[in-house]
């Protein structure tokens, strides 16, 4: 009897400890989301600079409108390409599973799959404003010292994020968040098959949309390591984004001026 009680108690403690730990991991990811994203609707400009074998090559600029959906706590995104010139005016609606691509040249909206968000070096999936805590189950793997993109050492939580629903852009993410500050430091992004796709470093923390937030990401293509991209945020402004904007038929009507 006594043995059974001890076993049950030990198991209960183990489960309780694990649950507490999972909660902690979720809280860390939620706090890091608040560092990355403001809670009010906003407009932002993201400029990607592609590097091939270390040499600057092309630029992609996107204007992004983001708004948190109170029902899902996930962001709804509306994206317009501004650069390069050949792609200017193309638009993408990224709202949960409602993903539509509009090309002003063909004037047609085409439904795209979640995988198509990841096509191209400057994948639209990378300009998404995302609350990771909503789409991923987080597990705390431990703490460790990590060297960030500025070669400074940071004391970080090391987290493992697994896609919790089919809205998640990546299947699996390794995530490092700086302790105490909750600043995102580094991510490793994996495909469904477990292939490492990208390594992301967060750099240049500055005042943006009412808080100290990262304004630059360095994205390394882990499949072809001769490719790298920097993503820089600018021209941020809080702006009302009506719900009616997040539908296919609004895409041709979007005006970014």
């Amino acid at each position: 009897m006594s043995g059974t009680f001890r076993f049950v108690a030990a198991a209960a403690l183990l489960i309780a400890s694990a649950a507490a730990h999972a909660q902690t991991a979720t809280e860390i990811v939620a706090a890091a989301d608040k560092v990355r994203n403001p809670q009010a609707p906003f407009r932002s400009t993201i400029r990607f600079t592609d590097y091939i074998q270390g040499r600057e090559r092309e630029h992609d600029t996107f204007v992004v409108f983001s708004k948190e959906d109170p029902a899902t706590r996930q962001f709804r995104n509306l994206v317009q390409y501004a650069e390069p010139a050949r792609d200017a005016g193309k638009r993408v609606l990224l709202d949960g599973r409602s993903l539509w691509f509009f090309d002003p040249a063909s004037k047609v909206s085409v439904r795209i799959s979640p995988q198509q968000r990841l096509i191209g070096q400057a994948a639209v999936g990378d300009v998404l404003t995302v609350n990771l805590v909503v789409d991923y189950d987080a597990t705390l793997l431990g703490t460790e010292k990590l060297v960030d993109a500025t070669r400074a050492e940071r004391q970080c939580w090391h987290l493992d994020l697994k896609a919790a629903n089919d809205r998640a852009v990546y299947n699996h993410i390794e995530y490092w968040v700086e302790q105490e500050k909750f600043n995102p430091v580094k991510e490793k992004l994996y495909s469904d098959s477990g292939r490492l796709l990208k390594i992301v470093y967060f750099r240049n923390f500055a005042q943006r949309l009412g808080a100290l937030r990262p304004i630059e990401q360095i994205i390394i293509d882990a499949v072809d390591t001769s490719l790298a991209t920097t993503a820089t945020l600018s021209d941020d402004v809080f702006q009302d984004v009506p719900d009616a904007w997040f539908q296919r038929d609004y895409l041709p009507r979007l005006q970014i001026n």
Binding site: R86, K107, G120
Partner: protein, 475 residues
């Protein structure tokens, strides 16, 4: 005692997990070394300069395209009319721009100005210069989420890629395309002069459009009788046309679109459905249906009405004026791989198109008459009419397209498609490559071939193969 054991167990488990996941210093250094030197050298304190002016969606580019065509020596049914060019040199300026005239008033222009030389065109002639006025309209937003547009507008519908039965304004609108790729055909086509009203709602939208009849129907144009600066409204506004369509957003998964279209004395209904499955697939269905005659009967009537075909001469193949409910359908799916290739596979039905018996009759009539016979001219008119209407000639076809971004090397995009008639297995195969040299320069080329036996849908076409090389400069 049990507390100690449990604590040990928990710590042990965590320690093990942490040890397994440890990002070691050499690994970290290796990953940091992948950051380009130029990026590493940027001061961590400096904030990169953002672009000052944002392109609101305009596009301006200059492109030069040189094409060579290989013609069949002995087609099963020789073409009596003008044959496709052997070579063509084309330089064009393509413009798409919007101007905001007032806070709720926008003027839109979209067009292409071409300089063209061909082996079958004398030089200089007015045919060397042409302007395709795709769009020119004023858009007014009288109140929030209500839009009124007036002018020449490209109103397109449809979720499929290779064939769009609900794209009712596609007929007669494509001018001298550089590629047979359906995505390119959608880009360079003439709009229709119309009044369009659109109301966006919280969970959907409603659009109504009316295009008036301004001209009598005109004969089908060829590549050697295109007007230079005429906007060719006779192609788009030869009948009164009315379209109403509405979409409903039913959650984030499902947003069907329903359409009602009326042209002349005919009414068609339509529907568009698209739904994603899993992470990599989208399935879609596009349908329209309504009473109409067969493609052969429609073509013959149009040819006689426009004076291209003799009014009372008997047809070389059987015809009837019978109208019945005819379906047009495109059903398909896309699949995107982790290696950035997107495949689209579609089945197309054009119920009014050629049946197996029609094809037999077409080849039999062509074989029985000399090339100078009006019957042969009529046979080829049927094919030209289907092309002008952007309809498949055959009843059943299959379409497969693959698009590979960053193929083999970064910035190289390969696209290939095959459009095959399921009756005879003939088809059109096209492979194109675009290499994005920089933000402003693109070079590319394509190879296309009509394959199949001589007595088949695509194998009977005069054009055996086409090669094109292009250079484009974007501004």
């Amino acid at each position: 005692m049990w507390k100690g054991a449990a604590t040990c167990l928990v710590y042990g488990a965590l320690w093990n997990t942490g040890a397994l996941a440890q990002n070691t210093q050499p690994d970290q250094d290796k990953e940091l070394d992948l950051i380009p030197q130029a990026v590493q050298q940027q001061s961590a304190d400096s904030q990169p300069v953002a672009p000052k002016a944002i392109n609101a969606g305009s596009r301006l580019y200059l492109e030069n395209a040189f094409s060579v065509t290989s013609l069949r020596d002995q087609p099963a049914v020789p073409t009596p009319g003008p044959r496709p060019f052997n070579w063509q040199e084309r330089l064009f300026l393509d413009v798409r721009k919007e101007w905001r005239l007032a806070s709720s008033l926008i003027f839109t222009y979209s067009g292409r100005t071409n300089l063209r030389a061909e082996d079958d065109l004398s030089f200089p002639t007015h045919e060397n210069l042409s302007n395709d006025l795709r769009e020119m309209y004023v858009g007014w937003q009288p109140w929030d989420r209500t839009y009124l547009d007036l002018g020449r507008i490209n109103l397109k519908s449809g979720v499929a890629l290779g064939y769009n039965p609900t794209d009712f304004f596609r007929t007669r609108a494509v001018v001298e395309p550089l590629s047979a790729d359906p995505t390119v055909l959608r880009e360079d086509r003439l709009g229709t002069l119309m009044l369009r009203a659109q109301q966006l709602l919280e969970g959907g939208s409603f659009t109504a459009a009316f295009a008036p009849k301004l001209y009598e129907p005109s004969a089908i144009y060829t590549n050697i009788n295109l007007p230079s600066l005429d906007p060719m409204l006779d192609r788009t506004n030869a009948r009164n046309r009315f379209l109403a369509k509405g979409s409903l957003n039913m959650g984030d998964r499902f947003s069907p679109e329903l359409l009602l279209y009326h042209e002349g004395s005919r009414t068609r209904m339509g529907a568009n459905l698209a739904e994603s499955f899993g992470q990599k697939s989208v399935a879609y269905l596009e349908w329209s249906g309504g009473r109409r005659a067969s493609l052969i009967d429609d073509a013959l009537r149009y040819g006689r009405d426009t004076g291209t075909l003799p009014l009372h001469a008997p047809s070389g193949i059987p015809e009837s004026s019978h109208e019945s409910f005819q379906n047009e359908l495109a059903i398909g799916a896309s699949y995107t791989t982790e290696t950035r290739i997107t495949f689209n596979l579609e089945y197309h039905l054009n119920q009014a198109g050629f049946t197996r018996a029609d094809w037999r009759n077409w080849f039999a009539a062509g074989h029985a008459h000399p090339v100078a016979s009006p019957v042969v001219g009529e046979l080829w008119y049927l094919r030209d009419y289907a092309l002008d209407q952007q309809d498949p000639t055959g009843k059943h076809s299959v379409f497969l397209r693959a698009d590979w971004v960053d193929a083999f090397i970064p910035k190289l995009e390969l696209t290939g498609f095959v459009n095959a008639d399921t009756y005879d297995g003939s088809g059109l195969l096209q492979i194109s490559a675009d290499y994005y040299l920089s933000d402003h320069w693109t070079v590319g080329g394509l190879i296309a071939t009509n394959f199949g036996p001589a007595r088949s849908d695509f194998g009977s076409l005069a054009e055996a193969a086409n090669f094109m090389f292009k250079v484009a400069r974007y501004f």
